[in-house]
C-alpha cells in the first residue's frame, strides 16, 4: 500500500499474529484504564480460561433471530426511557411523589381534616398546600417525560441495515432482534451490542469511537475473529451460535464463546461493539446482535449515580424526631386538658350557651356532636395534630431542594471554577449534598490525571549511559518542529515536543559517530516498539497534514512524538510492517512478532526485520523488570544512576534494551511463537514463556524519562487543604519512588516530615511493620514533628484483610499528617475510604479522574470527578465534576463553607419559624376551653409557611455569605467551622428552641394582657398575632443576615408587605368572620403600641446574647468578617500570619 493512500488509516494489526486470547487480554488491559498500570496489574487475571455456566448464559443463534428468540426471553431493540404514558401518568406520578414521607404526612393530615368530626380547616384551605406542591412537581415531571418520549421516538425510528433473507435491508432500530446480522457503514451509530463478524479491513480491525458511552474521544480498535472474517453474509451461510453472559452493565467486560462451523472460539470485550458507539475509519463492518434495547450495556448504564444523603440532613432528621415528640407532647397536653375541662363541666354541657350538647330539634333528644369524654379526647388529639401540623416543617424539605438548586446555580456559574483548557464548567451531578462540601475532613486523591495533567511529555533521555538532560528549546515559532515531505505535502506531528539541542544535532549527524549510532538505535526503538497507530488528519491548509498518534497508552504516545521530533517519524503501521521516516529517508521494517505488555513481565517487545536483513528484538519496560534481563555493564550502572535522578524529580521512566538475533535463534523463536499462538489451551501462558525465553541478555540502549506535569496550582491547593485541617491522602497506582517525588513536588511531603514506609509481603511482616510504625509515630508526635505514612498495595492486601490490622492501620494513619498509598488497585482505593468512613464520623471526599477511581468516588461521602483526559467514567459516578484539581479549594473552602453555613442556618430558622407559630396557636388553645379554635384565620395558617415567610429564608440560604471569598481563601483555617459543626449542632438547636419559646410567649401574652377584659373580637386579635409573628420572624431573620443585597432587602421587606396585603385581602371578604377587622384594629393606638412593644421585647434577649457571644467568644468567622470590613487591621493580620505561620 502506498503512502498516498494513508489518508484512510491503514494500520497493522499486531494482534493478527498473536493469539485471540492475548488480543483479548490486551484489550482488557487497555480498556480498564489507559494510563494506570494499577488497573492493569489487577485486572489481568486472564479471563480466557473462565467458562461461562450454562445457567448464566444466553444463546444467540447467528442469523437466526427466530430460533434465538424462540422462548421470548430477549428484549427487542426498542428503548423506552420515558417513565409515563398518557394514561399511566397520573397514578404513577402521584405514586412516585408520595414516596416522600413528608407528603404522606401532608396527605394524612389533609384526609383527617376531611372528617366532619375533625374539620379544623375548610376543605380548600386544607388541600391547597399539598395540591400546590403536587401540581408543580407533576408539571415538571410531565415536561421532562415529554422530552424523553420525543428522544425515544427519534432513537427508535433510526434506520439500520439488517440481513433479511440473504439481503441487507433497511430496518428501523426498534425492530432489530437478537441474532440478526447487521451491517454498519463508516460513521454509523451502532444500534445494539453486536459481536463483530467481519470488517472492511482484511485483518478484521474496526475502529470505533466510544464518546457517547464513556466520553473518550480517541479511537479504539475492535476485531472480528479470523474464522468469520472471510464470510460474506449475503452468500455464505453462517452456521453457529454464540454463548454469552447475561446482560450486565460492565462496559469494559464481555465474555462469550462462539461456535462456528464446528470451531470453538472465545470472544472478549475486543470483539463486541456497543450501542451508542460510532464506527470510524472503517468502510463497513458486519456483526450479530447479542444484546438489544434495554439489555444493552449503554442502557443498563444510563441510570444515574446512586443518590447520597447529606450529613446535615441526616442530623436534621434527628431533630425532626425531637420536634415530632414536641408535637405529640403539645397534642397530649391539649387533649388531657380538654378531658379535664369536659369532666369538670360534664353536668353543665347541656345548658352551657356555648356548648349545647343536646339537640332538641328532633323529637328524640340526642347528643349533638358529642360522643363521650373518651372520644372527645381522642378527637381533640387528632384535631390538635391538624392544627399544629406545621411543627414538622414540611416546607423545609421543599425549601431545601430549592436552595440546593440555587446553590448549584452559583457553583456552576462560578468563573473561578471554569477550566479553560477543557472548556468545562463545574458540574453538580448530585443535588442533595451541597452542604457536605463544607465539612470535609479527609480528602482521598488519585494521582495521575488528578494531581497531574496526565499529558505525558518526553523530557530526558539516557542513551547508552550518556545523560541528555540539557537545556530544552522549543522549536515552535522558529522551525515549527520536525516535518517531512510526502508527495508535495508537508506532514508534521500533531504535538510539538521540546527538544535537546545537543541530542538533536547528534541524531541529525546519524550513524557517523559512536554516539550517533546509539542515538539512532534508541529513537528507532522508541518509534517501533509500541502499539501506536499514526492517523493522518487534514488541516485547513491543503499542503499540510498532521500526523496524529492514536494509542491507548499516553506514555507510548509521548515516546513516539519524541522520536518524531528527533527525526524518527512513524508514518505507517500495517499488518506486517511499519514505515519510519528517518531524517528524511523512508525505511520499511518488517514486524515479525510482538510480545504484548503484561503485568507479570512488565515489559513488551517487538521482533523487527531490518531493511538490511538483520533481525533484532527490541524490549521496552519498567526499570526493575528490565535490569534483570540486561547484561551488566558499566553503561547499565550509569543508566541506573540517571534513572534514580529522573524518578527523584517525579519523572516516569522506561528502559529500552535490544539484541540482534542470529538466524538459528530467530528460527527457533519463530517456530515456538507460531506453536504458541495457535495453541488452543493456555495460549497466554505459552506466549509468555516464549517471550521470557527471548527477552534476555539484552544490550542497554537507553532510558527515557517522561514527565507527567503537575496540574496548575496543585501545591498551593494542597497547602490550602492542609491548612484547612483536611487530611490529604494520595492513592495511586504508580510506584513508590514516583509517588514520593510527586508528593514532594506537590508539597504534600516536606523535608521536615518523618517518613514511615510499609512494604510487606506477608501478614506477619505487615503486622510487625505496623507495630514499629506506630511506635515511631508516637515518638514523633511532639509539636513540630509530623509523620508521613507511605504504604504499598501489597501490604494493604494483607492489612485490609484483617480487622485487627485494619484497626492498627487506622490508628497509625489518623496520627499521620500525610498518607501515600502506592500501587493500589481500584477496589483497594474504595477499601481505604471505607476504612476511614467506618471508624470516624468525619466526612470523606474522593477525587479522581479514571475508571479505576469509580469505586472510591462512590464509596466516599462526596465523590468528585475530574473531567480530563481520562474519559467520563469517573465523572459519571461522581457527585460533582470539575476540570482541575485546584478548583477543590474554592469548591470546599468557599462554596462548601457557604453552603454548609447557609443550610445549617436555614434548617434552624425553619424549625424556629414554624415552632413559634405553632406555639402561638398552642397558647391560644389554652384560653378557648382547649377546643383548638384558632384566632388566626385558617388562610393565614396555610399561607404562613407558603407565602408569608418562605421567600426570605430561601433567598438568604442561597445568597447570604457569612464571610467573603477573599477571607475564606486567605485563611483556609476558617473551614474548620464546618468540620466542627458550628452552624448546626444540638446546642444551637436547644438555644433556638429556648429562643422560640420566649418569642412565642412574648407574641402571645403581650396582646393577651393588653386586651384582657376588652371588647376585642377573635379575628382582630388573630390579625394582630398574624402580623406580629410574621414581622417577628422576618426581623429575626434580618438580624442574622450578614450581607444585605437588594435581593435580601426585597424578599424580607417584600414578605412583610405581602403579608399585610394578604391580611387586608382576607379581611375585605364579607363572608369571612373577620370582615374589616384589620381596619378597625389599625385605627386604634393600642395596636401599634402593642406591635412595637412585642417586637422589641421578643428580640432583645437574642440580640443581647448574640452580641455578648460576639464580643467574648468570637468565632473565627466573626473575626475574619471584622478584619474584612475594617481594612487597616486586615493588613496587620497579614503580617501576623506571616510572622506566625500556623502549625500543621
Amino acid at each position: 500500500m502506498s503512502l498516498d493512500d494513508a489518508q484512510i488509516v491503514n494500520v497493522n494489526n499486531p494482534q493478527q499474529l498473536s493469539s485471540p486470547d492475548s488480543t483479548l487480554q490486551r484489550q482488557v488491559l487497555d480498556l480498564g484504564s489507559k494510563r494506570s498500570r494499577d488497573s492493569e496489574r489487577y485486572s489481568s487475571i486472564s479471563m480466557s480460561h473462565r467458562e461461562i455456566n450454562d445457567g448464566d448464559a444466553r444463546l444467540v443463534h447467528v442469523n437466526d433471530a427466530l430460533k434465538t428468540n424462540e422462548r421470548f426471553e430477549f428484549a427487542g431493540n426498542s428503548i423506552k426511557t420515558a417513565k409515563y404514558s398518557l394514561f399511566s401518568f397520573l397514578p404513577r406520578n402521584l405514586f412516585e411523589q408520595f414516596h416522600r414521607v413528608a407528603y404522606i404526612y401532608f396527605l394524612i393530615i389533609a384526609i383527617l381534616n376531611q372528617l366532619p368530626q375533625l374539620a379544623v380547616f375548610g376543605r380548600g384551605a386544607s388541600i391547597l398546600p399539598l395540591s400546590f406542591v403536587l401540581l408543580v412537581t407533576a408539571v415538571k415531571d410531565a415536561y421532562e417525560d415529554w422530552r424523553r418520549h420525543r428522544s425515544d421516538r427519534i432513537e427508535n425510528n433510526r434506520m439500520a441495515s439488517v440481513l433479511v433473507s440473504d439481503r441487507f435491508q433497511q430496518k428501523k432500530w426498534k425492530d432489530i432482534q437478537v441474532g440478526e446480522i447487521i451491517r454498519f457503514s463508516a460513521d454509523d451509530t451502532i444500534p445494539c451490542d453486536t459481536v463483530l463478524l467481519s470488517t472492511s479491513d482484511p485483518t478484521g480491525v474496526a475502529y470505533i469511537q466510544t464518546i457517547n458511552l464513556d466520553g473518550e474521544s480517541n479511537l479504539k480498535t475492535r476485531y472480528a475473529k479470523q474464522e468469520t472474517l472471510c464470510k460474506t453474509p449475503e452468500k455464505d451461510v453462517i452456521n453457529g451460535f454464540i454463548k454469552c453472559e447475561k446482560p450486565n452493565r460492565n462496559i469494559y467486560g464481555f465474555m462469550a464463546t462462539m461456535e462456528i462451523d464446528g470451531k470453538h472460539l472465545s470472544l472478549g470485550p475486543s470483539n463486541i461493539v456497543l450501542r451508542g458507539c460510532v464506527l470510524k475509519n472503517t468502510n463497513w463492518a458486519v456483526g450479530v446482535a447479542v444484546y438489544c434495547g434495554r439489555e444493552t450495556k449503554a442502557m443498563l448504564n444510563s441510570s444515574g449515580a446512586p443518590s447520597k444523603r447529606s450529613r446535615l440532613e441526616t442530623r436534621m432528621n434527628r431533630e425532626i424526631i425531637l420536634l415530632s415528640v414536641f408535637l405529640v407532647a403539645l397534642c397530649m397536653a391539649v387533649s388531657v386538658c380538654a378531658g379535664v375541662w369536659l369532666k369538670r363541666h360534664e353536668n353543665e354541657l347541656e345548658v352551657l350557651q356555648f356548648y349545647r350538647k343536646k339537640d332538641y330539634s328532633e323529637p328524640e333528644v340526642d347528643n349533638y356532636n358529642y360522643s363521650g369524654i373518651g372520644m372527645e379526647i381522642f378527637f381533640t388529639f387528632l384535631m390538635s395534630v391538624i392544627v399544629f401540623q406545621i411543627m414538622i416543617p414540611i416546607s423545609l424539605y421543599i425549601s431545601m431542594e430549592l436552595v440546593r438548586v440555587g446553590q448549584a446555580y452559583f457553583m456552576i456559574r462560578d468563573n473561578k471554577m471554569y477550566d479553560e483548557t477543557s472548556n468545562s464548567r463545574f458540574q453538580c451531578r448530585a443535588l442533595n449534598i451541597n452542604e457536605d462540601l463544607g465539612q470535609i475532613k479527609y480528602v482521598f486523591s488519585d494521582k495521575t490525571g488528578t494531581l497531574t495533567e496526565n499529558k505525558m511529555e518526553f523530557k530526558y533521555a539516557s542513551i547508552f549511559g550518556v545523560d541528555y538532560s540539557g537545556e530544552k528549546t522549543n522549536f515552535e515559532g522558529e522551525q515549527r518542529g520536525y516535518c517531512i515531505q510526502v508527495n508535495g505535502q508537508v506532514w508534521r506531528p500533531k504535538m510539538k515536543v521540546e527538544v535537546d539541542k545537543e541530542l538533536l544535532q547528534l541524531s541529525k549527524d546519524g550513524n557517523n559517530s559512536e554516539a550517533g549510532k546509539h542515538i539512532y538505535d534508541f529513537f528507532l526503538a522508541l518509534a517501533a516498539c509500541n502499539t501506536i497507530v499514526p492517523i493522518v488528519v487534514d488541516t485547513p491548509d491543503p499542503a499540510e497534514k498532521l500526523v496524529d498518534y492514536q494509542g491507548e497508552s499516553p506514555d507510548e504516545q509521548a515516546l513516539v512524538y519524541a522520536a518524531a521530533a528527533y527525526g524518527f517519524m512513524l508514518m505507517e503501521r500495517t499488518s506486517g510492517h511499519i514505515v519510519i521516516d528517518i531524517q528524511g529517508e523512508r525505511q520499511r521494517f518488517n514486524v515479525l512478532g510482538m510480545h504484548e505488555f503484561d503485568s507479570d513481565r512488565k515489559r513488551m517487545s517487538v521482533i523487527l526485520g531490518f531493511p538490511d536483513g538483520s533481525v533484532k528484538v527490541i524490549v521496552k519496560g519498567a526499570d526493575n523488570s528490565m535490569f534483570n534481563i540486561i547484561d551488566k555493564t558499566s553503561k547499565l550502572d550509569a543508566t541506573e544512576g540517571h534513572l534514580q535522578s529522573y524518578s527523584s524529580i517525579g519523572l516516569r521512566t522506561l528502559v529500552v534494551g535490544m539484541r540482534e538475533l542470529g538466524v538459528p535463534e530467530f528460527e527457533r523463536w519463530q517456530s515456538s511463537y507460531e506453536t504458541a499462538s495457535t495453541a488452543v489451551m493456555g495460549r497466554v501462558a505459552l506466549l509468555r514463556k516464549v517471550a521470557i525465553n527471548l527477552e534476555n541478555n539484552l544490550e542497554i540502549v537507553g532510558a527515557s524519562a517522561i514527565e507527567d506535569r503537575l496540574q496548575k496550582g496543585v501545591p498551593e491547593a494542597i497547602e490550602s487543604l492542609r491548612k484547612a485541617d483536611m487530611k490529604v491522602w494520595v492513592l495511586t497506582g504508580d510506584k513508590q519512588e514516583t509517588a514520593i517525588s510527586i508528593g514532594y513536588s506537590s508539597r504534600l511531603l516536606t523535608s521536615n516530615m518523618h517518613q514511615v514506609v510499609i512494604n510487606s509481603n506477608s501478614k506477619m511482616s505487615s503486622k510487625t511493620s505496623l507495630e514499629d510504625a506506630l511506635i515511631t509515630c508516637r515518638n514523633f508526635l511532639v509539636p513540630g514533628g509530623s509523620v508521613a505514612l507511605i504504604i504499598d498495595g501489597t501490604s494493604l492486601v494483607y492489612i485490609l484483610d484483617d480487622t485487627e490490622l485494619e484497626e492498627q492501620l487506622f490508628e497509625l494513619a489518623s496520627n499521620c499528617a500525610v498518607v501515600l498509598c502506592c500501587r493500589v488497585a481500584p477496589l483497594q482505593k474504595a477499601g481505604i475510604v471505607a476504612l476511614i468512613k467506618k471508624r470516624t464520623d468525619d466526612m470523606t471526599l474522593a477525587i479522581g479522574d479514571g475508571a479505576n477511581d469509580v469505586s472510591m468516588i462512590q464509596m466516599a461521602d462526596v465523590g468528585i470527578g475530574i473531567s480530563g483526559q481520562e474519559g467520563r467514567q469517573a465523572v459519571m459516578a461522581s457527585d460533582f465534576a470539575m476540570g482541575q484539581f485546584r478548583f477543590l479549594v474554592p469548591l470546599l473552602l468557599v462554596h462548601g463553607h457557604w453552603n454548609y453555613h447557609r443550610m445549617g442556618y436555614m434548617i434552624l430558622y425553619n424549625f424556629y419559624r414554624n415552632a413559634v407559630f405553632v406555639l402561638v396557636l398552642f397558647w391560644y388553645v389554652l384560653f378557648t376551653g382547649f377546643t383548638l379554635t384558632t384566632a388566626i384565620t385558617e388562610w393565614s395558617s396555610v399561607l404562613y409557611s407558603i407565602l408569608y415567610t418562605s421567600a426570605p429564608t430561601i433567598v438568604v440560604a442561597i445568597l447570604d455569605k457569612d464571610s467573603s471569598r477573599r477571607s475564606l481563601m486567605a485563611y483556609p483555617q476558617l473551614y474548620g467551622a464546618g468540620q466542627r459543626h458550628e452552624s448546626y449542632n444540638s446546642t444551637l438547636f436547644w438555644l433556638t428552641i429556648a429562643d422560640t419559646l420566649w418569642q412565642s410567649i412574648v407574641v402571645f401574652y403581650v396582646p393577651l394582657f393588653a386586651y384582657w377584659k376588652s371588647d376585642i373580637d377573635g379575628s382582630s386579635l388573630g390579625d394582630l398575632w398574624t402580623l406580629a409573628v410574621v414581622f417577628l420572624v422576618n426581623i429575626h431573620l434580618a438580624m442574622d443576615v450578614i450581607r444585605w443585597t437588594w435581593v435580601s432587602h426585597a424578599s424580607i421587606w417584600g414578605s412583610i408587605i405581602a403579608t399585610c396585603i394578604c391580611v387586608i385581602v382576607i379581611d375585605v371578604i364579607p363572608v369571612l368572620p373577620g370582615y374589616w377587622a384589620i381596619f378597625d384594629l389599625a385605627s386604634k393606638g393600642s395596636f401599634w403600641v402593642c406591635l412595637l412593644g412585642m417586637q422589641i421585647a421578643a428580640v432583645v434577649p437574642r440580640f443581647g446574647v448574640k452580641m455578648f457571644i460576639q464580643h467574648c467568644k468570637p468565632s473565627d468567622i466573626q473575626i475574619a468578617r471584622e478584619a474584612d470590613k475594617f481594612g487597616s487591621s486586615m493588613e496587620l493580620a497579614r503580617q501576623e500570619i506571616e510572622l506566625n505561620p500556623s502549625r500543621r
Partner: protein, 336 residues
C-alpha cells in the same frame, strides 16, 4: 484547527455578572460596641418616656366596674340560681348604685363584661351562618348552625349558637331620679351593619323553642339595625370580655352617684361566670390598661441595664475588632 475555533466560539465560560459571581453590592453591617450600646440606649430612651406616657394615658381613663351577678340574686335562690333565672315569674329587676370617682367626660362607654364565657369555643364560634345574615335568599344556609338551625316552621334566622345565646340583660341609668339617656346607636361596626348583616333580612323563628339561650329579637327590625345582636355576634377573642352596650353622651361629675336598674336575665350561673357592668371613658390607648405602661418601662429599664453592662464589658474586657490573635488557631498557638 477547526476544533480550536469551535471551542472558542462555543466557550462554556460562564458569563461574568456580579450576580452569578455572588458579588452583588451589599451592605455588610457589623455591630461594633458603639453601635450595640447606642441601640440599647436608644431603646431605653424611647421606651421609658413612652411607658410613662402610656401609664399617664391609662391613668386618665376613668372606669367604674360593678359586678352584679351574685348581688342581684335574691337570697332565697342562692342555692338554686338556675330556677331563678329560668323562671318567667321571678322579678329580675335589680338596683345598683355607683359612685363616680373622677370627672368623666363624654362619650362614656357602657360595657357589659362576662367572665369565663367561652365565646371562642370551637363549637360556638363555628355555629353561625354569615351567608344567611347577609342575604334573605340564603336563609336555608344553616348547615353550620346545627342543632339550632330550624324546625318545622322553617330555618331559624339568625341561626346558630352565637345568635341563640344573645345577651339580654338591660341597664337603665339614673342620676338621682333623672334618667340618663343611653345612646344605643352606632355601637356596632359600620362595616358589619353595611355588608355583613342585611338590611332586608328579618329575624324568623328566633328563640321559638322551650330552651331559650338568651335575648329575643324584634321581628320587624332588619338585622342590620339589631345592633346588640351585631355586637354580640362579633365573638370575643378571650374568655373574659366586654361588649359595648351603649354610650352616655353627657359628662358625669366627680362624686356623683348613679343608680343602675338592671334586668338580670342572662344566665351565667350555670357556668359560674361573672357579670359586670362597666362605665369607661376612652382615649388613644383605649380603655384603662396599665399593662402597656408597665411593660414599656420594663423594656426600657432592661435595655438600660444591658447597655450599662455592655459598657462595663467593653471597658473591662476590650477586644479590638478583627484582631487576628483571637482566631482560634492563633489562640491555641499562644497557649503552646
Amino acid at each position: 484547527m477547526d476544533a480550536s475555533t469551535r471551542t472558542k466560539s462555543r466557550s462554556k465560560k460562564p458569563q461574568y455578572s456580579r450576580f452569578t459571581q455572588q458579588e452583588l453590592p451589599a451592605w455588610k453591617p457589623i455591630l461594633t460596641p458603639k453601635w450595640i450600646i447606642t441601640s440599647f440606649v436608644i431603646i431605653a430612651i424611647l421606651f421609658t418616656p413612652a411607658g410613662l406616657l402610656c401609664l399617664w394615658a391609662s391613668e386618665r381613663v376613668v372606669e367604674i366596674i360593678d359586678r352584679y351577678d351574685d348581688d342581684c340574686l335574691p337570697d332565697s335562690y342562692s342555692t338554686d340560681p338556675d330556677s331563678f333565672i329560668q323562671s318567667n315569674n321571678t322579678n329580675k329587676t335589680c338596683v345598683r348604685t355607683l359612685k363616680v370617682p373622677r370627672k368623666m367626660t363624654a362619650p362614656i362607654f357602657i360595657y357589659y363584661q362576662l367572665d369565663n364565657f367561652y365565646q371562642n369555643h370551637r363549637r360556638y364560634v363555628k355555629s353561625r351562618s354569615d351567608k344567611q345574615l347577609r342575604d334573605p335568599d340564603e336563609a336555608d344556609e344553616t348547615e353550620d348552625c346545627k342543632p339550632i338551625n330550624g324546625n318545622d316552621d322553617g330555618p331559624i334566622v339568625p341561626c346558630g349558637l352565637v345568635a341563640w345565646s344573645l345577651f339580654n340583660d338591660t341597664y337603665k341609668f339614673f342620676k338621682g331620679n333623672k334618667a340618663i339617656d343611653i345612646d344605643k346607636k352606632d355601637i356596632a361596626w359600620e362595616s358589619d351593619k353595611k355588608y355583613k348583616f342585611g338590611s332586608n333580612v328579618y329575624p324568623k323563628n328566633f328563640q321559638n323553642w322551650e330552651l331559650i339561650g338568651g335575648g329575643a329579637l324584634d321581628e320587624s327590625k332588619p338585622l342590620s339595625e339589631q345592633e346588640d345582636l351585631i355586637v354580640w355576634m362579633k365573638t370575643a377573642a378571650l374568655p373574659t370580655f366586654r361588649k359595648l352596650y351603649g354610650k352616655i353622651n353627657t359628662d358625669l361629675e366627680a362624686n356623683e352617684t348613679i343608680t343602675v336598674v338592671i334586668q338580670n336575665n342572662y344566665n351565667t350561673y350555670v357556668f359560674g361566670g361573672e357579670k359586670k357592668v362597666a362605665l369607661s371613658t376612652a382615649n388613644w390607648i383605649g380603655g384603662k390598661n396599665d399593662f402597656f405602661g408597665i411593660s414599656f418601662l420594663t423594656i426600657g429599664g432592661v435595655c438600660f441595664f444591658v447597655a450599662i453592662n455592655f459598657i462595663l464589658l467593653y471597658v473591662l474586657k476590650p477586644r479590638p475588632l478583627g484582631d487576628p490573635s483571637y482566631l482560634s488557631w492563633n489562640r491555641n498557638q499562644g497557649a503552646q
